[in-house]
Each structure stands twice: as structure tokens, then as C-alpha cells.
């Protein structure tokens, strides 16, 4: 991606393979700081792997990833994962209440989340403070996703990775989550990297978009590229001919 923005995350010729599959192939490009970049592409394109490379759950076989200008391997893994938060589609929860889940990142540091911060967090994600004592097993899909995002925010990440967080939600919940992400981006200046299957969402919410196919970045730039792609494969993908 050629932009004049300062990169929050920069990939330089990054490759990643499992024993059987070459998943990410020579990816080079930047995710601009303070912006929302969406990642779109067919299933198996390597999008989730790319996110896991960003917060150090995986390491590249070759190439270098820079986080805020510093090579990723120079970060302590724990420091890196607090700086680069990750929210997943399934919004996994630990059993207990919403507060127990929000407290989890603090508990991992041997501390406790103050009640006032917990209230601020649930209200930030559009939930009432009474939710804090609710059991997570009683939450709807959209509410779970909001709690998952709020939990990630406890670490005050500067970069937030979102893996298809709205794909299993109804239209109303999806819109609420979209507004929430834009709100977080605007309020805290958080860099957002968002995997989505919803091209309309990528177009409306994303400042920039990467189109990934078969482990490669086929096209990247401002999200409007989805309206007039130049690459033939991307054209077919946008028309829904390539899943």
C-alpha cells in the first residue's frame, strides 16, 4: 500500500507456512496508524494468519514485521500482545460474569480492574452498567462481541485486530458493532485492522482495504478500490464469482 501515512504495522516480504500449506506468500505493505483498514478475501486467503502474525501468536518464516517502527521480534511477547489487541469472531469467554471477563487481562497481571473502569468500559461499548454482574452465558451474540471488544480494550491497545466480529450477528447488532469500532477509532486514535466478509462494510467503514487471495495481497489502497478494482481476480471476487 503506498500512502503518506505513518505505518502502525508494516510487513516486509513476509512468508508463513505450516508443514503442509504455504499460507502467507511474500506479503509487503503497511497498515496506517490511526486508520481503519479492512482485510477482505475468500476463505483460506491467509487473513486470520496475517492477524496472528501481527500480535505474535505466530512468527513469520521469513521477512520482517514492524510494529510502530520496531521489528516485532524486539518486543517482549507479552508487551506486544497488550499493545496489539485481538478480538475473535467466536468471542470466547471464561465462565462467570461480564465483570470476570473484563477483569481477566488485569488478573493476568496479578491486579484487579477497578469498578469505575469496568463501568466506563461497558458503557463505552454501549452496554448498561448492570451488565457487569450478568452471567456471560445469558448474553446474546452481539452482547458477547461487545464484551469481547471491551475486554480487549482493558489493555489499552494502540492497534486492534478484529477477526470477522460481525459475521454471525443480525443486522442491528452488526450496525451497533460498526458504530462502536468507529467510535473507538475516533476517540482513542486506535489503529484498526478488521477482517470482514462483508464488502459493503469494508467500503463504508474502512479507510483502506487489502484484498487477499491465496496468501497474497492482490490489491490494496483506499477502500473505494472495491468499486473499481484493477486486478482480474479481485474483479471476479468483488462480483461474487470467487468465494
Amino acid at each position: 500500500m503506498t500512502t503518506s501515512y505513518k505505518p502502525a504495522v508494516h510487513f516486509n516480504q513476509v512468508d508463513f507456512s505450516t508443514k503442509a500449506v504455504h499460507i502467507v506468500k511474500g506479503v509487503t505493505g503497511s497498515f496506517p496508524e490511526g486508520k481503519i483498514t479492512t482485510l477482505v478475501g475468500p476463505s483460506g486467503a491467509g487473513k486470520t494468519t496475517l492477524l496472528k502474525l501481527c500480535n505474535g501468536l505466530l512468527s513469520p518464516d521469513s521477512g520482517v514485521i514492524y510494529i510502530k517502527g520496531k521489528p516485532i521480534e524486539d518486543y517482549d511477547p507479552i508487551e506486544l500482545r497488550r499493545l496489539v489487541g485481538l478480538a475473535l469472531q467466536s468471542a470466547p469467554m471464561i465462565s462467570g460474569t461480564v465483570y470476570d471477563n473484563l477483569n481477566l487481562p488485569m488478573e493476568l497481571r496479578g491486579r484487579k480492574l477497578p469498578e469505575t473502569e469496568a463501568v466506563q468500559l461497558v458503557e463505552d461499548v454501549g452496554l448498561d452498567k448492570s451488565f457487569l454482574q450478568r452471567k456471560v452465558s445469558d448474553l446474546s451474540g452481539g452482547q458477547r462481541q461487545k464484551v469481547s471488544i471491551a475486554r480487549t480494550l482493558v489493555n489499552k491497545p494502540e492497534i486492534l485486530l478484529l477477526d470477522e466480529i460481525t459475521s454471525s450477528l443480525d443486522r442491528k447488532s452488526m450496525k451497533e458493532i460498526e458504530e462502536l469500532i468507529v467510535h473507538i477509532n475516533r476517540k482513542y486514535g486506535t489503529t484498526i485492522i478488521w477482517i470482514t466478509h462483508n464488502l459493503q462494510q469494508a467500503l463504508e467503514i474502512g479507510d483502506f482495504t487489502w484484498v487477499m487471495m491465496e496468501g497474497e495481497v492482490m490489491e490494496s489502497g483506499e477502500s473505494s478500490l472495491l468499486e473499481n478494482p484493477t486486478n482480474d481476480k479481485v474483479k471476479r471476487f468483488v462480483k461474487g464469482e470467487e468465494k
Binding site: L57, R82, S90, I94, L104, L108, R151
Partner: protein, 249 residues
């Protein structure tokens, strides 16, 4: 018991063979192999034990216990093939459990330092430790496999590998210890332990047989706890690399 009487007991082998044949279970071959193996192995070990007990040589006692540990390690490590270096982890655990229990038994003069006691009790301790290892490894590898997302959630929130695997580790340790604890709750009510029954049949005073059985039961509690916990804490770090990433197979 004479060999003639013993041969009559083969009727207990014929019954399952007939049942298997009638119901087409297909277990005849395995039953015959198991019977022949048990006859050969037990007779062989009977003669070996007779020789070792009579010699009272520390070298032979050491060799017997080593042989037990090697065989138990070989058997248990198969269940943890996904864990790097599992063979030595199981071996170290079994050696530690054996040394710990024998040190207490001999150190407090609970049992005499004779081949008869050391080898018999070692057999029970190592055998139990092997079963515990298998139960633990079976459960732990399944827990790790099915909870990858939960493990990665903790890691992604800035947790350490130990924090990320803690729940799976504790669940596996508890699950592997439960059979030992539960079977002790019903001992004497539902089942009479093999060793105690054997002693009583051989003419020993039932009270003395019970005392020895209690000793073994308490010993097996320690064996269960130490085996599961030690193997657990030796195993979990190898599931992660230095960058605190969960290694997948």
C-alpha cells in the same frame, strides 16, 4: 495349588472364547494370545523373583526395578507422542515417584529392606504411576487440542503460557486422580483389593492383610498426586516456544 488344578482354571478362558465365537465378537485370537502371554510372563517372572529373592542382591533388585520403569515408560509415552521429549519426562516422573516412596518406606522402617518387599511394592507403585501417566496424557492432549482457542485468548490478552494452559492442566490432573480417589472410597465395600485377597487366600491374618493393604492404598494416593502433577508441570512448557506461541501439531 497343583498344576493340574491350575489347568482346570482354564475353564475361565474357555467361557469367553465360546461366548466370542457364538456372538461373532472376533476376540478369540486376542483372548488366546493374552492367555498364553500371561502364562509365560507370569511363570517367567515367578522364577526370576524366586531367584532374586533368594539372592538378596542389591544389583538384582536395582535391575528389576529398572526393568519395570523402562517397560512402564515405553507403555505410557505412546499416549503423549504429541509432547516433545515425553519419554524422558515419563521416565523422570516414574523414577522420582519410586525413589520418593521407597525412601519413605525404608527411611521410616515401615517395610524391611528386602527384595521381597522392595520389588513387590515397586511393582504396584510403578504400575499405578504408569496408569496415572496414561490417564493424564490422554486427557491433557485432548484438553489442549479442544481448547486451543481458549489458550490463544489468554495469550492474546498478555497471559503467560502457564496462565494460558492452567485450566486445562488442572482439569487433566484432577481427572487422572479421580479413579484412584474414588476406588478408595468403596474399597472393602464393593471390592477387596487383589493384594489383600491374595494374602488372605495364602493364609495370612486378615487384620495384617488389611494393614498392608492400607499402606498400599495410602502409597497409591501419593503416587497418583505426584505422577499427575509432576508430569503435568514437566509437559506443559514444551507446548510453547520461546516467543510464547502455542505449538501445533
Amino acid at each position: 495349588m497343583s498344576y493340574l488344578t491350575l489347568s482346570i482354571t482354564l475353564i475361565f478362558v474357555v467361557i469367553p472364547l465360546l461366548l466370542s465365537k457364538t456372538l461373532n465378537l472376533g476376540l478369540e485370537k486376542d483372548t488366546i494370545i493374552a492367555t498364553i502371554r500371561s502364562i509365560i510372563q507370569l511363570l517367567l517372572i515367578g522364577y526370576v523373583l524366586k531367584f532374586v529373592f533368594e539372592s538378596e542382591s542389591l544389583v538384582y533388585i536395582f535391575l528389576m526395578v529398572t526393568l519395570m520403569i523402562v517397560a512402564a515408560t515405553h507403555n505410557a509415552q505412546k499416549k503423549g507422542a504429541a509432547i516433545k521429549g515425553i519419554t524422558w519426562k515419563v521416565a523422570v516422573t516414574l523414577v522420582f515417584v519410586e525413589v520418593l516412596t521407597q525412601s519413605i518406606l525404608l527411611g521410616f522402617q515401615i517395610t524391611p529392606p528386602t527384595a521381597q518387599y522392595i520389588i513387590s511394592i515397586s511393582g504396584m507403585v510403578i504400575g499405578n504411576s504408569m496408569v496415572l501417566s496414561i490417564l493424564f496424557l490422554n486427557r491433557f492432549t485432548a484438553e489442549v487440542e479442544s481448547n486451543q482457542e481458549a489458550t490463544e485468548l489468554i495469550l492474546s490478552l498478555g497471559g503467560t503460557p502457564k496462565q494460558a494452559i492452567h485450566k486445562q492442566l488442572i482439569d487433566s490432573i484432577k481427572a487422572s486422580m479421580i479413579p484412584t480417589i474414588e476406588s478408595q472410597k468403596t474399597v472393602g465395600l464393593v471390592q477387596l483389593p487383589g493384594m489383600m485377597s491374595g494374602q488372605i487366600i495364602a493364609g495370612a491374618d486378615p487384620i495384617q492383610a488389611v494393614q498392608f493393604q492400607l499402606l498400599i492404598l495410602f502409597l497409591l494416593l501419593t503416587t497418583a498426586a505426584v505422577t499427575s502433577i509432576m508430569l503435568g508441570f514437566l509437559s506443559y512448557p514444551t507446548l510453547f516456544n520461546q516467543r510464547m506461541q502455542l505449538l501445533k501439531n
